[in-house]
């Protein structure tokens, strides 16, 4: 048998961080802080400072002020987590947001208006301020100064294991297609969740890390909750901020059924606790012949309000203490382009639609962010569902605006040190098995050797057409779930036909495989949960089932088959019970 050098360029590290978005950077920095003697290498398909999703949104940061933690825990458990959240973990999170901010700010990010944070929720005491969207650049600079090493344009495909422990990974260079073999004592998967490439701004989340973990034997939990939907303009595809308060059906009837969990939340900034139920209202209107749905742009004045200009700087100029140079430039450019080029008429009525995002992150980890595979950790959105801090919601927690960034940093500053501790205490590192390496290499590269077949783009479009419809992903029913699962499995049968011509298209093939796998997880887990709970909404089981203790739906890779099981939530151990 060949040595591992035979298979490609070999890179050795103590900790391999997969993904240098916000959570990966946080994990890398804090792993190095915990044990500076360890080699920490962060790799990503993107270049340093531009990976992940954190820099492509609002840059909103919400936190829980000291003294208000328990109010938050109870509200979240009762209204968002719907009793599927691990209340102990949620309480630790609630008591950590201020400390997380302090740590994050020490890395040189440009917080704005932290001292002027406003009350972002009428019930839970969320406070909100902002960070400029080039935040990853100072974080990466700090990481480099701390000794973190980076590689760019690297796709990680599979994990190498020795028995029940991880010992490395295999991937390739996107530009040159060179094969890369990583020897690592611990691996932290921080390469995002699954959004099926539908909503374009968030399409960096393609679920390869989830698939990587799954193929290595990692368990999944909460896969039925990856169904986040936002409101988008049909004409320019971008999120239409504030449109949820100014929607009309084709008959001109005002759709004031915001369908939020609590009517008091209606005036909350941007729709805190954004509900998947709103997309269902839109779907029902359209199904009843009252579509399409429009936003009355004259009634949606949010972008031009003082708060709108501070938070979502599309027009005007933020107040000085809220002003963010990069965000201002970027948001204004998008606004001008979409307004000038996207809108086809001058009518004030603009069609809006549910824009499926997903935010599916079911990698199951323990209190130390470690999966059931020794030395394999996860951090950020990839495990935001699987860690069960937040319960019956897609990532980020409860879809409260501003909660995503801080949650990702929170993950990182715990997963990184946990990985460092693991490596420091590791007595016998695993050894790479050349037989396993060869098999994984052959499977990874096979699309390059096919002369004909289907492209990743063709199959990606098909999986998007399965995931995107509200009646498949947001309003579930057994017959539709079974049909969607059957369509997904038909696509799965086409995966062996994928064809690639270079590193870029090979990466797309890996991503497409992950999209199909994640769709299968989503539909199988959704079929198992025969009730409505949180963001899992069943038309055929419209109520929460409180007749027995709640349960988590777990998925396990058993010989290549997806086994579905339930784990009872230890509700008696927790403070808050239904009722």
């Amino acid at each position: 048998m060949n040595s591992i050098e035979h298979f490609g360029k070999v890179i050795s590290t103590d900790i391999l961080i997969v993904g240098h978005g916000i959570s990966g950077l946080s994990a890398a920095i804090t792993a190095k802080e915990k044990n500076p003697a360890l080699k920490v290498l962060a790799v990503d398909k993107a270049c340093v400072g531009f990976g992940g999703k954190a820099n492509k949104g609002g840059g909103h940061i919400s936190y829980i002020p000291e003294g208000a933690e328990e109010t938050y825990v109870e509200y979240h458990t009762r209204n968002l987590g719907d009793y599927l959240n691990n209340q102990d973990r949620l309480r630790r999170y609630a008591h950590s947001t201020v400390k997380t901010l302090d740590k994050w700010e020490s890395w040189g990010v440009s917080f704005r208006a932290r001292d002027d944070a406003f009350q972002a929720h009428p019930i839970i005491p969320w406070k909100m301020f902002v960070v400029d969207l080039d935040m990853l650049i100072p974080m990466a600079k700090h990481a480099r100064q701390a000794g973190v090493e980076f590689m760019e344009k690297v796709a990680i495909v599979d994990l190498l294991t020795d028995g029940d422990q991880v010992c490395g990974a295999i991937g390739f260079d996107l530009v040159t297609a060179e094969i890369l073999v990583f020897k690592a004592k611990a691996v932290v998967l921080a390469n995002g969740n699954q959004n099926w490439r539908v909503m374009r701004m968030w399409s960096s989340s393609r679920g390869e890390g989830i698939a990587t973990a799954w193929r290595a034997g990692a368990r999944m939990r909460g896969a039925e909750f990856g169904s986040f939907v936002n409101m988008i303009s049909v004409e320019h595809f971008q999120v239409s901020y504030g449109s949820e308060n100014a929607m009309f059906n084709a008959k001109g009837e005002f759709m004031d059924d915001r369908a939020d969990l609590d009517g008091n939340l209606k005036d909350t900034f941007g729709g805190a606790d954004l509900g998947g139920t709103q997309s269902i209202s839109m779907y029902k209107q359209v199904a009843a012949g009252n579509g399409p749905i429009f936003e009355d742009t004259e009634k949606n004045d949010y972008p031009s309000t003082p708060q709108g200009m501070n938070i979502v700087p599309e027009v005007g100029r933020a107040a000085d203490n809220w002003f963010r140079p990069f965000a201002h430039k970027w948001w204004h450019l998008l606004w001008e382009k979409n307004k000038m080029g996207g809108y086809k008429t001058s009518s004030k009525m603009k069609e809006v639609a549910p824009g499926f995002i997903g935010e599916f992150g079911p990698v199951n980890v323990d209190d130390n962010w470690m999966t059931n595979i020794k030395g394999l950790f996860a951090s950020g959105d990839i495990c935001a569902g699987g860690i069960q801090i937040f319960g019956a919601v897609p990532a980020p927690p409860g879809r409260n605006r501003g909660s995503g960034l801080i949650a990702a940093v929170y993950h990182g500053i715990h997963a990184g040190p946990a990985a460092a501790d693991y490596v420091t205490g590791l007595e016998k590192p695993g050894q790479i098995d050349p037989v396993q390496l060869q098999a994984l290499q052959e499977d990874m590269l096979v699309p390059l050797y096919r002369s004909q077949g289907v492209t990743a783009a063709e199959l990606t479009w098909k999986i998007q057409c399965i995931m995107t419809p509200v009646p498949n992903s947001a309003l579930k029913r057994e017959d539709r779930l079974k049909a969607a699962l059957a369509e997904t499995l038909a696509l799965k049968a086409e995966l062996p036909k994928l064809v690639a011509s270079d590193g870029h298209s090979l990466s797309a093939c890996i991503e497409t495989k992950a999209m199909v796998l994640c769709a299968e997880m989503f539909f199988r887990a959704s079929l198992e949960r025969k009730e409505t709970r949180g963001w899992h909404i069943r038309e055929d089981f419209p109520s929460r089932d409180d007749s027995a203790n709640p349960y988590w739906v777990d998925l396990e890779n058993v010989g290549g088959e997806m086994a579905v099981s339930r784990t009872e939530v230890p509700l008696n151990h927790y403070v808050y019970q239904p009722g």
Partner: protein, 75 residues
């Protein structure tokens, strides 16, 4: 498909477009060091390349007619 135009008379070949694109759309010509959009079909009009270009040499022209999967389905 979006069109990504680079004005070669302005471009300083600094590589910021390549670096800022998280969708791996750009490549750099080995001989001339000139960046170009090798995979424009993967551009998602985030406009990070345009915003990041220090000399304003790059423009993303968004195709607003490209298809998106149906959000309501056929059922």
């Amino acid at each position: 498909m979006n069109l990504i135009k680079i004005d070669s008379t302005l471009c300083t070949k600094c590589g910021m477009c390549f670096k800022s694109c998280w969708n791996d759309v750009f490549r750099v010509d080995k001989a001339t060091r000139q960046p170009y959009a090798a995979y424009p079909e993967d551009c998602v009009e985030c406009n990070y390349c345009e915003v990041s270009c220090p000399v304003g040499a790059l423009t993303v022209i968004i195709d607003y007619a490209k298809p998106m999967a149906s959000c309501y389905g056929n059922k």
